[in-house]
Symmetry: C2
Subunit: 334 residues, 2 copies
C-alpha cells in the first residue's frame, strides 16, 4: 500500500498541509488561514479546524494509503515537548485582557492533535529545523552528515546538522544562529530585545535596513532613493543590483560581509561540509553568494579554508515548507 505522511506548515498568515510521499510528491494539499485564529481563545478552534481539515483531505484521496505520521513546522516549535512556546505572532491575548499570564501561551499542539489522530506519530519542530530536515531528505544535503542550513526570511533561521542528526539541544530550541551578536558597538535593535543580532543585518528586513543606512552614507544616485521605507521590499535591491545600482551593490557586499564572517565563526564550531542558503534573499543569487563566500574565506581559520561550500537550497519553491515538515517523519523512517 502507498505510504504517505502529512506535512503541516504553521505560518503567521496561513497554515498549509499536504499529503506527501517519500519522493516528495504531494497528492493533496489544503490551507487554513492562521490569521483567523490570532487570539488566545481561538487556539482550540484552530486545532479543531486544522485536524478536521486534515481528515477531510485524507478522505478526498481516491486510493488506499497508509498514514505514517504527521510532521509539523511552526515558529517556536519545541521538538522534545511537541509544544509551541510563546509564539510572537500567534494566539496572543486580547489587548484589553487584564493581567494576561504569558506563561499560559505554551501550546501543547502535538498532544492536542493526538486526540484527533490517536495512533499516529506526530512530530513538531521550528520552521527552520523543518526546512533543514527537508534539505536532508529532499534537497541538496542528501547523504551529508555535517551541514548548516540558513533560512533567510523576515528573520534569519538556522539548522545545524552534525553526525547526520539535527541538533535540537537539551531544551529543543537550538539553532538560533540569527541571534548571535555580530555588532556590540551600537548594534541594530533586534526584535528579541537585544542589539546587534545577525538577523538585524542578514534577512529581508536586515538588508532593507542596510540599504537605508547606505542611502544616508553614500552620495551616489540610486533608484532605491525613490521608494519609502514602508513601500520598500528586499527584492527591489536585487532588481537594482542587476542594473548596476551602486547603493544596491554595496548593500549586498555589506550583507555578504556580515554573513560571511558570522559563518566563518560557525564553521570553527561544527566544521560543516556545506552551508545552504534558503529563502527569499537567497534568490538574489551571485549578489549574495559571491560576497558571502569571499568574506567567509577571508575570515576563516586556515585549517578550514576552501573546504566549505556555500550552496543554494534544493527545496526552494512553494511547497518547501510542507516538504520540510513531512521530512520530519520520513527521516524517522530511514
Amino acid at each position: 500500500m502507498k505510504k504517505l505522511v502529512f506535512g503541516v506548515d504553521i505560518g503567521g498568515t496561513n497554515t498549509a498541509f499536504g499529503l506527501v510521499d517519500e519522493a516528495g510528491d504531494i497528492y493533496a494539499e489544503s490551507v487554513i488561514p492562521t490569521k483567523k485564529y490570532l487570539l488566545f481563545d481561538d487556539y482550540p478552534a484552530f486545532v479543531t479546524d486544522l485536524c478536521e481539515g486534515m481528515q477531510r483531505l485524507m478522505a478526498s484521496v481516491t486510493f488506499d494509503f497508509e498514514l505514517l505520521g504527521i510532521g509539523i513546522g511552526a515558529p517556536n516549535g519545541n521538538y522534545h515537548k511537541g509544544t509551541i512556546e510563546y509564539p510572537a505572532n500567534l494566539w496572543k491575548f486580547r489587548p484589553d485582557e487584564k493581567n494576561p499570564d504569558e506563561s499560559r501561551r505554551l501550546f501543547n499542539l502535538v498532544a492536542d492533535m493526538q486526540k484527533y489522530f490517536p495512533s499516529t506519530l506526530i512530530l513538531l519542530t521550528n520552521d527552520a529545523n523543518a526546512a533543514t530536515i527537508g534539505e536532508m531528505v529532499y534537497g541538496n544535503a542528501k547523504g551529508l552528515q555535517d551541514f548548516i542550513m540558513i533560512t533567510l526570511g523576515t528573520g534569519l533561521g538556522s539548522g545545524f546538522v552534525a553526525n547526520g542528526e539535527m541538533i535540537y539541544g537539551h531544551d529543543g530550541f537550538a539553532g538560533e544562529f540569527g541571534h548571535t551578536i555580530v555588532e556590540r558597538n551600537n548594534g541594530r535593535v533586534c526584535g528579541c530585545g537585544r542589539r546587534g543580532c545577525l538577523e538585524t543585518y542578514v534577512s529581508a528586513t536586515g538588508i532593507k535596513r542596510t540599504a537605508f543606512e547606505l542611502m544616508a552614507k553614500m552620495n551616489d544616485q540610486s533608484e532605491l532613493r525613490d521608494i519609502s521605507f514602508n513601500d520598500f521590499d528586499a527584492s527591489m535591491i536585487s532588481a537594482a543590483a542587476a542594473k548596476g545600482d551602486p547603493v544596491a551593490l554595496e548593500t549586498f557586499r555589506y550583507t555578504g560581509e556580515m554573513l560571511g564572517r558570522a559563518l566563518a565563526d560557525a564553521v570553527v564550531i561544527s566544521s560543516p561540509k556545506a552551508i545552504f542558503l534558503f529563502g527569499g534573499l537567497a534568490k538574489a543569487g551571485k549578489f549574495l553568494f559571491e560576497p558571502t563566500k569571499w568574506y567567509m574565506e577571508e575570515n576563516m581559520l586556515s585549517v578550514f579554508k576552501n573546504k566549505v561550500d556555500i550552496l543554494p537550497s534544493g527545496i526552494e519553491g512553494k511547497n518547501a515548507a510542507i516538504l520540510g515538515s513531512a521530512a520530519l517523519i520520513w527521516q524517522k523512517q530511514a
Copy 2:
C-alpha cells in the same frame, strides 16, 4: 578477565600513557619526553619508542587482562583519519632544511602505531575533544546529551557534544571555539595569524595580556606591577585577586565578560544543558566563574536564560589527559 585500555596523551613536552579500567583507575603509567623528538626526522623514532614503551608497560602488569584499545589525544589530531596534521610544536623541519615541504608534516600516527598493535582498535582525536569525552565517561557530564567543554590552557580548546555524540565535523577538526573572532576592531594578534580570536582574551596567555593592558589603563596600585611579562604566570592573578588586588579583580571581570558573551553566542547554536570549564585558569574558581555566568546571562537570548549551568570539570588533576584519551575507547564500548 580484567579489561583495560591505553590512554595516550601527546603533549609538546611529554607523552604520557597509562593502562586504565572502566572506572578510571590507572594500573600502570609511564612517559616519554616528546621534546626529544622535536624534529621531522625523529618522528619514526618517536613512534618506535612510544609503542615499545607501551608494550613494556603491558608486560609489567602482573595480572591477566584484555587490551580493548588505544585512545590518543594529540594537538591537531584528526579523528576521522587518525592523523596529526601540521602540529605547531611537534616534528618540525630543521631550521637549516632547504625548501621543506610543509604538506609532508601530516603524520599517519594511527596507521604507524597499528604496525605494533595489529589487531587493536586505535582512535585519535585532539586534546580538547579527548578531555570532552573524558568528561562524559569519567567526569561531570555523565548522562548529558548536550554540553560544551572549554579547556583553558595556553590556548582555548573546546568540545561540543550534541545528541550524546562528539561533534567532529566533516573533516575531523570541529570544536575550535577559541578561534571565533570576538573583537573585530584592532583585536589582539592570535597565533593563528588572525586578530581578535577568543583565545587571545580567554586562556592562560590571554588573561596575562589583559592584566598587562589593565596595568597600563588603570592607576591603582597592584602587586602585579612588580612582575615582568616574561616572569608572569596566570596563577599570580588568582593569588592577587584573593587579596583584593584591584587590577587582578578587573582582569577577571573582563575575562569573564569576554568568555560569557562568547558562550551566550555558542548557546544559541547548540543549546547545551551545561558548560564545563577545565584547565589551569578554571582553578581560579569564583573569580572566573562568577563574571562568566553573569555576562553569559546578561547577553543571553531570553529563551535560553537561566537554563545553562557553568560548572567545573570533574576530571581535573594530573591524570585528566590520560583518562580523556582512554575514554575515547570506553565510549565506543558503551
